[in-house]
Amino acid sequence: MANHNAHTEHGDHGHEGGHGSMKSYVIGFLLSIVLTIIPLVAVMNGMFSKQVTTVLILVMAILQFAVQLLFFMHIRDEKKPRYNLISLIFGLVIMLTIVAGSIWIMTYNAVAT
């Protein structure tokens, strides 16, 4: 049984959640804390103009997403062919199309607000 377990772990090498080290989790956690504090401070103190702040906090959110994917969801460790990554990209393309498309259409559709 113990032998089998060790074997399974070896076999697991390469998919999401299969491994990762304490170090990578701690680094990911610290990065996610920092990436949350930066936009918080920027918004609460009103440090920059509205436009700069908007771009800054969106960039921080996207970086935060990347941190979760890389350090927690182990997207890098997937073995080829990378179906998980490809399906994720596909989903993101659809999501961005819906969001950007809606904003675009409704911006020009606006009756005097």
Partner: protein, 215 residues
């Protein structure tokens, strides 16, 4: 796609032949679990699209208050900041649970899953309190387009976390009874993926709804 599924599961006979030597018995079972994880990943992708539509709706309707209260009037950031850090921490603790599982430490796995679930429960507690506060101040789901979009988006995320809590409790009970097996291992892997995903969604809720709302 049929071919993709075949390859993912290494069901193709050719694949079997070339891998047979170093994988040995239990291979089919292992592939089955891997397929289930991939299936769950595809569910997460559809969830990305679901939240995408809700975010699109929110962004489009964000200025339509219909003479009712504004978001920035009623939102109290202190509670939101607390729940953000709670959810971030729970994403981290579910990762530690995974590490304990890979070490074969059943007790550690259960402990960290319970900590994760408790953090999730406190997140829900704060959210319910916030909703009660908002309704008290005169902003419910029918008040204006803004508040409809707000409650649908934030509420759908909260519902996901609630479902995750029930699910995590069930998995904890199952691990207590059956121990760490390939099947329970896959289940823990899947719930931790789900949990990280919910954390990612919350980051965008926090940024787009709350931070931009009070800016």
């Amino acid at each position: 796609m049929a071919e993709a599924i075949k390859n993912k599961g290494h069901l193709a006979h050719a694949g079997h032949g070339s891998h047979g030597g170093d994988h040995g018995h239990g291979h089919d079972h292992h592939d089955q679990e891997e397929m289930k994880t991939f299936g769950f990943w595809l569910f997460l992708i559809t969830d990305v699209i679901l939240f995408g539509t809700l975010f699109a709706t929110y962004v489009v309707l964000r200025n339509n208050f219909a003479g009712g209260p504004l978001g920035s009037d009623l939102i109290e950031m202190s509670g939101i900041i607390a729940s953000t850090f709670i959810l971030l921490t729970s994403s981290f603790t579910s990762g530690i649970a995974l590490l304990e599982m890979n070490k074969g430490n059943k007790k550690g796995l259960i402990t960290w899953l319970i900590i994760t679930a408790l953090l999730g429960a406190s997140f829900i507690y704060l959210e319910v309190n916030e909703f009660i506060h908002l309704v008290h101040e005169g902003a419910n789901i029918g008040t204006s387009a803004y508040w409809s979009a707000f409650f649908t988006l934030v509420g759908t995320h909260g519902l996901h976390v609630t479902v995750g809590l029930v699910w995590m409790t069930a998995i904890i009970l199952q691990i207590r009874r059956r121990g760490i097996t390939p099947v329970t291992k896959r289940k823990v892997n899947i719930i931790s993926l789900y949990w990280h995903f919910l954390d990612v969604v919350w980051i965008f809720v926090f940024t787009i709804v709350y931070l931009m709302g009070v800016m």
